[in-house]
């Protein structure tokens, strides 16, 4: 390897891991996730009990190098084939599928599965180191060609290219550079940046907002960008936001996880480009961007320098335990945010918090309304009101008289 080559930042391998439908054996996959991330790989984890269609949708939107399945409850021959077939049908047959399932997947099964398109199986007793080394060797060097994809995969690939470019340039790039999908936008989406301290409930709230969007729009699409930190030493990451995003398992939702890859702004350096790509696609009515849950001193969506603003509005989410009135004064986003939500209103401290924060917002004299939400509660009226406020700003449809109970009864 030449010296020039070694100084170039390595682009992390992206792998999607999941456990098949009706299967909750996640001990193997969580161990493997940790090991892969420890070795600099970006793991997008979808969770257990996942339908083939959900796995395929995630693989396409995340534009992963490879899909790893961990299957224990039997039926693996049928299931792996289903994933491979659906990927192929959707023009993404280039994404290999592999996996393991301890002793439940036999050598004889593997032969059948390989014939049907599965790449390889890791049997019981394979050491973790061997596995990681092989995965890096087999899937890490897959070139990411600027192949012409259609639909979500094209969007996803454009974002991948933007990620790679911004990693190499170490600065955010805006539209055009990865403009494969750039054309005259059919519609202009409303873009909301969501920020707030770690664990305040940003992801949960975004998912609940997604469910309201889907219910109030019979046809439109929503895009979600989830920024999560890369490990500072290994460069790997476990991007697990999809696990809890139960309403995002829908073809009308485009969900992309972005690891920060060393960027300290709370967003991936590629986030601005990714937002442009999504905007220019003309596919979406609403785009929600979640920043990493860090620092309260700055606004991750206010980018330095010139250019159009990154988002149309910012939503600041905080939880009742921010540490008292003095702390509130220091939170920059409270002054700047267009929308403020106090989440976890089921918390005993919520009552006091509500009054304190409203008082703080009144100081701004910007007529900011505080939305009190309990994202963890299903059908929360506070979330309904927050959605209505977003919809009003973004000129999105919202049914009058609030919401009716969830009508999708699919228990999956």
């Amino acid at each position: 390897m030449s010296a020039a080559k070694t100084t170039r930042p390595t682009v992390p391998l992206r792998i999607l891991t999941a456990v098949p439908v009706c299967d909750g054996h996640d001990s193997a996959v969580t161990t493997i996730n940790i090991e892969l991330a420890r070795h600099g790989i970006e793991v997008i984890y979808l969770g257990y009990h996942q339908a083939a269609s959900a796995i395929v949708r995630a693989a396409i939107q995340e534009d992963v190098n490879v899909v790893g399945l961990s299957s224990y409850n039997g039926g693996h021959i049928v299931f792996f084939k289903e994933v491979v077939d659906q990927l192929t049908k959707l023009g993404s047959g280039d994404i290999p599928v592999f996996g393991g399932g301890g002793g439940t997947i036999t050598k004889a099964d593997e032969r059948v599965m390989k014939r049907q398109g599965t790449d390889c199986i890791y049997f019981a007793g394979t050491s973790l180191d061997t596995m990681v080394a092989e995965i890096k060797r087999n899937y890490g060097l897959v070139a990411k060609p600027r192949a012409r994809f259609k639909g979500d995969r094209a969007l996803a690939r454009a974002i991948t290219i933007a990620e790679t470019e911004s990693l190499e340039a170490r600065r955010p790039r805006r539209a055009g550079s990865a403009g494969e999908v750039a054309r005259a936008p059919k519609k202009k989406p409303f873009v909301v940046g969501v920020a707030g301290p770690g664990g305040a409930g940003k992801s949960t709230l975004i998912d609940e907002l997604t469910s309201r969007f889907l219910r109030n729009n019979s046809a439109g699409r929503i895009a979600l960008l989830a920024n999560d930190p890369s490990h500072p030493d290994t460069g790997g990451a476990i991007l697990g936001d999809r696990v809890s995003a139960i309403y995002s398992q829908d073809d009308r939702v485009f969900f992309r996880s972005l690891a920060t890859r060393g960027s300290l702004t709370g967003l991936s350096a590629a986030a601005p480009a990714a937002i442009d790509i999504l905007k220019n696609s003309g596919e979406f009515d609403l785009i929600l961007v979640e920043s990493v849950g860090v620092g309260q001193e700055s606004d991750p969506f206010r980018i330095l320098g010139k250019g159009p603003p990154l988002v149309d509005a910012t939503l600041f989410v905080l939880a009742p335990y921010y540490g008292g009135r003095i702390q509130l004064q220091k939170i920059a986003l409270l002054a700047g945010a267009d929308l403020v939500a106090l989440n976890k209103c089921d918390h005993p401290m919520a009552h006091t918090a509500r009054a304190e924060i409203q008082a703080r917002l009144d100081q701004n004299s910007k007529n900011q309304k505080l939305h009190a939400t309990t994202a963890a509660k299903h059908f929360d009226l506070g979330v309904d009101a927050l959605f209505a406020a977003i919809a009003r700003r973004g000129h999105l449809p919202v049914s009058a008289g609030g919401e009716k109970a969830c009508s999708t009864a699919d228990p999956l």
């Binding site: 969770g47 009990h49 409850n73 039926g75 439940t104």
Partner: protein
């Protein structure tokens, strides 16, 4: 309002009390005399027996001493078998009476494969190895997740890893030919999120066979422990508060209507199999149990009524802590229930089912699994588990095939019937110095975890913060790392390896023909009940919305509705669970 800190304090206080009593026994001569008199009386009640080789033996092993300090330490610190704080055993004689035919037969073999009739055949086959009727049911993935066999994308999972049950008719086929109202019958079901639906189907099927008044005669256990599902086994359908409500509805219905039924089995097995250390297993399981107790009390239920209907389920692996885990858990449970929840004696006893560790069984040179299971069985019995499942040697590959299920059952019989270890004398090992040291250390570590969870606000807030899940995952990762680093010797895998290729073992799998048959049956059921189902579901929905007892309605709903229909209906009312990494 976590009680965990209080519970930890109550155990410490009890330990201090024991130390004080021992000191008093040594200094207060009146107290010492009382203790000696009591001790002599206890000795008088012990019958004698003779081993087959002619050695006379007492039926209860007691410390051979008349030192009042030692007596006090034994009686208050450990308790007689069947006496507070129950470290030695839940009951006085445990396995001994098996021989005379009146005692508990501890063996319960978990079985489930294919369609209802296949599992029924397995039950009949296993039954030939047991005196009493012990049916323990494993369900397939779709059933565990509350889905019908015709749900999109699940066909390949139907009948795999357990039995497919969609309707009350399947349930009828599952137990065909067994008299479930027999006094010595006991049915257990490893079923969680859909436990209310499945138990309702069980009751409905039993009523069809044994008449409308049979429920009070039905004996058995349904797992239904939703907290460990959130923490480890990952079968949750409804949001946590709704899951807990449905569970409490079921418990409250069962306590008066099915007095012989255990409506929840508070389980550490899945926690340990997911990777937790023995201490974590015990701490999470006990704290979950105390949480249920608190929830039920808060709903106004009487701890002395529901307390005796709570049962427990622990894993037994090869790590040293397993020598005492059951003993320590019984003790902490008894003290906590008594001191913090005001429970009387019957509600203080932790009734324990144990399963040998599946995760300790590995694919490489898998015949060694027989030995591993045998050792774990010994440890389980040494902890005086009330019932026990032994895993089959083909565990890593498949739902047990007949051959290995038989060997697993014979393993229990060899230990219990061939060997003299548990036959003649009760409590052979309790009080051994090594056990006492271990008990103390393990107890201390469990209380530390209690206190840590207490600072997080208790079990439910800790769960929301992923405390249990992250601890379990970390320990699971560590376990695998130890194996591959060689720090945890596994014979045939990282030590004394032969070059044997991976064996090919017979597999129990469900053919596509059977899977389609199951779907056809379900469709026929749905067609037959097409008119009645919507009304029944509507009624159920109303009860669920109005906050009524959902279980008392489910008993009727299952007559005409499938599992999947009910799951969808309830999901509509309460929403879906949001999983965590």
């Amino acid at each position: 309002m976590s009680q965990l800190g209080k519970i930890a304090d109550s155990v410490d206080a009890y330990n201090a009390h024991v130390i004080a009593e021992v000191a008093r026994a040594r200094t207060d001569s009146k107290f010492a005399a009382d203790l000696r008199a009591r001790w002599a009386k206890i000795h008088e009640t012990v019958d004698w027996t003779v081993s087959p080789t002619g050695t006379p033996l007492p039926r209860l092993a007691l410390p051979q001493t008349d030192d009042p300090g030692v007596i006090a330490e034994y009686l208050f610190g450990q308790g007689l078998p069947g006496g507070f704080p129950y470290a030695n055993a839940a009951y006085r004689e445990m396995y001994l009476n098996r021989l005379t035919g009146t005692g508990e037969e501890p063996m319960r073999l978990f079985a489930g494969l294919g369609l209802a009739e296949d599992t029924n055949a397995r039950f009949h086959y296993l039954g030939t190895h047991q005196k009493s009727l012990r049916l323990s049911t494993a369900f397939d993935g779709p059933t565990l997740y509350g889905l019908d066999s015709d749900h999109e994308g699940v066909l390949g999972k139907v009948g795999e890893g357990g039995v497919a049950i969609d309707t009350v008719e399947d349930m009828t086929r599952l137990f065909a030919g067994f008299d479930l109202t027999r006094k010595d019958a006991s049915v257990s079901m490893t079923m969680n999120a859909p436990a209310p639906m499945i138990l309702a189907m069980f009751i409905a099927a039993a009523k069809r066979r044994f008449g409308p008044g049979c429920a009070p005669n039905l004996r058995g256990t349904i797992q239904a422990d939703m907290l460990k599902e959130v923490q480890a086994q990952n079968e949750v359908i409804f949001p946590i508060d709704a899951s807990l409500r449905f569970l409490c509805d079921m418990i409250e219905w069962c306590v008066p209507n099915m007095p012989r039924w255990y409506p929840v089995s508070i389980s550490g097995y899945h926690i340990a199999e997911a990777g937790a250390t023995p201490v974590q297993q015990a701490a999470f399981t006990l704290s979950n149990g105390f949480t249920y107790t608190g929830l039920l009390k808060a709903r106004g239920a009487d701890v002395n009524k529901f307390g005796p209907r709570l049962s427990f389920f622990l894993d037994c692996g090869l790590d040293v802590e397993y020598l005492v885990l059951g003993r320590v858990c019984r003790r902490i449970w008894a003290i906590g229930m008594k001191e913090v929840f005001g429970a009387g004696p019957k509600a203080q006893i932790l009734k324990l089912h144990t399963q040998t560790s599946g995760r300790s069984l590995i694919a490489a040179e898998f015949q060694n699994n027989l030995t591993r299971t045998a050792v774990e069985l010994m440890l389980s019995y040494m902890n005086y588990t009330n019932s026990c499942h032994s895993n089959s040697a083909d565990e890593p590959f498949t739902t047990p095939t007949e051959r290995y299920a038989t060997l697993a059952s014979h393993g229990q019989s060899i230990i219990m019937e061939e060997s003299g270890v548990f036959k003649h004398m009760m409590n052979m090992f309790g009080g051994a110095p090594g056990l006492l040291i271990l008990e103390k250390q393990v107890e201390k570590a469990i209380l530390e975890v209690f206190r840590e969870m207490d600072t997080l606000g208790g079990v439910l807030p800790a769960q929301e913060q992923r405390y249990q899940r992250s601890k379990i995952q970390e320990a699971g990762h560590n376990y695998e790392k130890q194996i591959y680093a060689g720090a945890r010797p596994i014979i045939g895998l990282n030590k004394y390896k032969s070059d044997e290729p991976m064996p090919s073992v017979p597999l129990a799998r469900t053919s596509p023909i059977k899977q389609r048959l199951q779907v056809e049956r379900l469709l026929a059921f749905k067609k037959k009940n097409a008119k009645k189902a919507p009304t029944a579901l509507h009624k159920l929905e109303n009860v669920a919305r109005s906050g009524g007892n959902v279980f008392s309605e489910l008993v009727h709903t299952v007559e005409v509705c499938s599992l999947g229909q009910i799951t969808a209906c309830l999901t509509n009312v309460v929403g879906k669970f949001r999983p965590m990494v």
